[in-house]
């Protein structure tokens, strides 16, 4: 039933027959998907279709949910992250995440950026300083905050906070960055900046982004996956999927007939 219109070689993340349960109810019914390296892949679909749940399977964020269960495989560089021996800490360092609501810690901007390094036991001042600068530059925030690195991060604007969260995610140098509707709480101007930033990040990171906003998906992503009621309906190049959807449901959704 899944329509895949593109073949991905050397995927970063490969999902094989993934099923996800909240208690007894199944939220994802067997998804097979391959995410290309250093590209932006968008997950779209109506509310409750399981796109956020799917995203959270990639860094095992769903482990925090009581009574959740996963079947199937998610391969990250040939290793199944749901293997018994997987080091979750290591996994989450490789797969970073940016959340819907920006969530800077109640610490200074500096400490926020290096949080991931600090908890990994990194204390070399020079390295930390350097990483703060590169990360903030990478998140296009450096110029705005370089004079107040040691002020509280809670004093930043909403858009700046979200970019700080991105800086925090890239500071640990992950392979993949998961973004869960990163712009839904931002104003149009901040959204534009974050979208621009996603375009830049693409050069170094693989990005998987969940979005409600189809225009945004069309603007920022290279590949798009459309999910509906826990099933992957269609996956393909963004231009192709939006212009010439193969599947009837996809077409209905992107033309706004439901969702």
């Amino acid at each position: 039933m899944t329509t895949v219109t593109v073949k991905i070689d050397n995927p970063v993340i490969e999902v094989e027959n993934l099923r996800f349960y909240y208690g007894d109810s199944r939220a994802i019914h067997g998804v097979d998907l391959r995410f290309p390296e250093k590209q932006v892949t968008a997950l779209i679909g109506p509310s409750g279709c399981g796109k956020s749940t799917l995203l959270r399977c990639f860094n095992r964020m769903n482990d925090l949910v009581d009574g959740s269960r996963v079947e199937g495989k998610v391969l990250l560089g040939n290793e199944n992250i749901y293997d018994k021996n997987t080091d979750i800490i290591e996994l989450r360092r490789k797969v970073g995440m940016v959340f819907q609501k920006s969530n800077p810690f109640p610490k200074s901007i500096y400490e926020n950026v290096i949080y991931g390094l600090r908890i990994a036991g990194e204390n070399d001042k020079n390295l930390l300083d350097e990483r703060v600068e590169t990360s903030l530059k990478g998140a296009a925030l450096w110029d705005e905050v370089k004079d107040r690195l040691h002020d509280s991060a809670l004093g930043l604007s909403g858009g700046q906070m979200q970019r700080l969260c991105i800086a925090r995610a890239i500071a640990v140098n992950p392979k993949v960055i998961l973004m869960d509707e990163p712009c839904s709480a931002l104003d149009p101007k901040s959204t534009a900046r974050v979208e621009e930033l996603i375009g830049e990040l693409r050069e170094n990171f693989t990005i998987i982004i969940v979005t409600h906003n189809m225009q945004q998906a069309a603007r920022v992503s290279d590949y798009t996956a459309f999910l509906f009621e826990g099933n992957l309906i269609e996956f393909g190049l963004t231009e192709r999927l939006f212009v010439k959807p193969r599947n009837k449901q996809t077409e209905d959704y992107i033309t706004g007939r439901f969702g």
């Binding site: 290591e90 969530n103 800077p104 810690f105 908890i119 925090r168 640990v172």
Partner: protein, 573 residues
Amino acid sequence: MFILELGIQVYAIAPENPPGLEGRNFCLAILLVWEIMKNPKEINKYWRVGEPLVWVSGAALSLTLLSALTLLIVIMVNGLGVFWPAELQQLELKDGSRVIGIQTRTEKTADGSAFRNQYKIANRDLYGLDFRWIDEAQVQSVSTPAELMVLERIEYGDFFGRLQALRPRDRDEISAPTAEQLQVALQQVREEWQSLTELDAKLQDLSYRSEQLRLQLQKLDYQQVDPADSHRQALVAQKQTLEDEFGHLIKLQGERIKKVRQSTAIFVDASGREKEIVLADVVQVYLPNQMSKSAKILFYGDKILELLTGEPRESNTEGGLFPAIFGTVMLIFVMSLFSFPMGVIAAVYLREYAKEGLLVRIVRIAVNNLAGIPSIVYGIFGLGFFVYGIGHSIDVLFFPERLPTPTFGTGGLLWASLTLALLTVPVVIVSTEEALGAIPREMREGSYALGATKFQTLYRILLPMASPGIMTGLILAMARAAGEVAPLMITGVVKLAPTLPIDGHFPFFHLDRKFMHLGFHIYDIGFQSPNVEAAKPMVFVTALLLVLIVLVMSSVAIHLRNKMKKRYTFGTF
């Protein structure tokens, strides 16, 4: 709005009800009802806007504030005036007798036509009573002679009267001396007394050391060491020298005391009765009728200082409160040391680690119920579990040589603190749990997503963010602990503790010692004192002090909390 105004008008007139106006009030009330019936929407709107609720909540708040304020004012009014040097009056009564006293209270006589006053007449050793009621009708005249004196004595309370003669040791009697001469003589005696206290400290040290030696010897006995053992022999010899020195010093002290006590003065009371008073027994002399305002203020300051730093005397009804203040603060401090970490760790476990289920629910209910148990029950538990259970076991294990005299097997600071910690730990648990629960999920997820472990998340993100809430719990716990008396009475508080829980002898910090407490002090002098009337001022002063201590400690904690709040909570987005 018209209805409201009408209502107010009715209400404003109603309580007075002057004759002739009942009719008018009745009319107004009818009008009010008519107005409401005619236009029910108006009153509905009134309710809908919620104005009555605002009034009710406002009234409730002001009532609470008012009662708190009244409490403070009553205690302050009664407590602050105690040390003010009041005017000494000399009354000539119609039956020819004379009374010297300070007027303390006034009330109407039974028929309501005249007043009678209560006077503090002091001189307990002469009259047996400190206070006397005198009808105003009995009084011929009142004067305030300047030469009247107040003597604060170590025993028998104050003495009111006049100075007649001075009998310094080794010198001739001075008849009709001035107040200055008395002060000079007193100063001299005080200096002599000072050298005696040094001797006293030396004696105390000696007795402590000899007691330690006795215990060591007893330990050796207990271990069945041969009496001929050289170490044992050395200890015995050492003890002997100490005891010799002790005996010598005691004799010296006795002689010196006798010498110092030879200086006396003759005073006369209102009726001219002579009384010879040993100068060493006099704490302070002042002439309130001669004192200027500034002298009175200075005197007042001195008394407050004495209150805060001095030792109690005359079965706690006079002198200072330092041991009680120290004991109270120490108790709260040690209690916090136990209850704070215990509560926070328990709450962290319940909220972060325990799997939500029947067991956790039961534990939570139990914790909440703990807060509702009467405090005396905690006291009994502390006595049975800590004092007799753990304390006695410690004695058997570590201090067998001292038995049957208990060391930890009797009430003490440690056990009282632990009992109070148990009593207050539910407060800390509940507030910590709530503070942890109030942290948005995104914070945890953000931390986990960066590869943090549960523990790292907890101590780097969650605990700092919960700290204001945890502090609130601690403040409540401290306030509750400071106010508890019942459980302390059976776990270690005493009326008069000979030593502080901290001193210069190893290990410096004696948690096994009994201690004094302001709350118990109030109970003791207010209800257990043989002379309740004389103790009353001290009751108010102690109450005021207790309230102040709680206030100061809470303010410090609140200040800390606000600082944390500023640091760890979100500004506006």
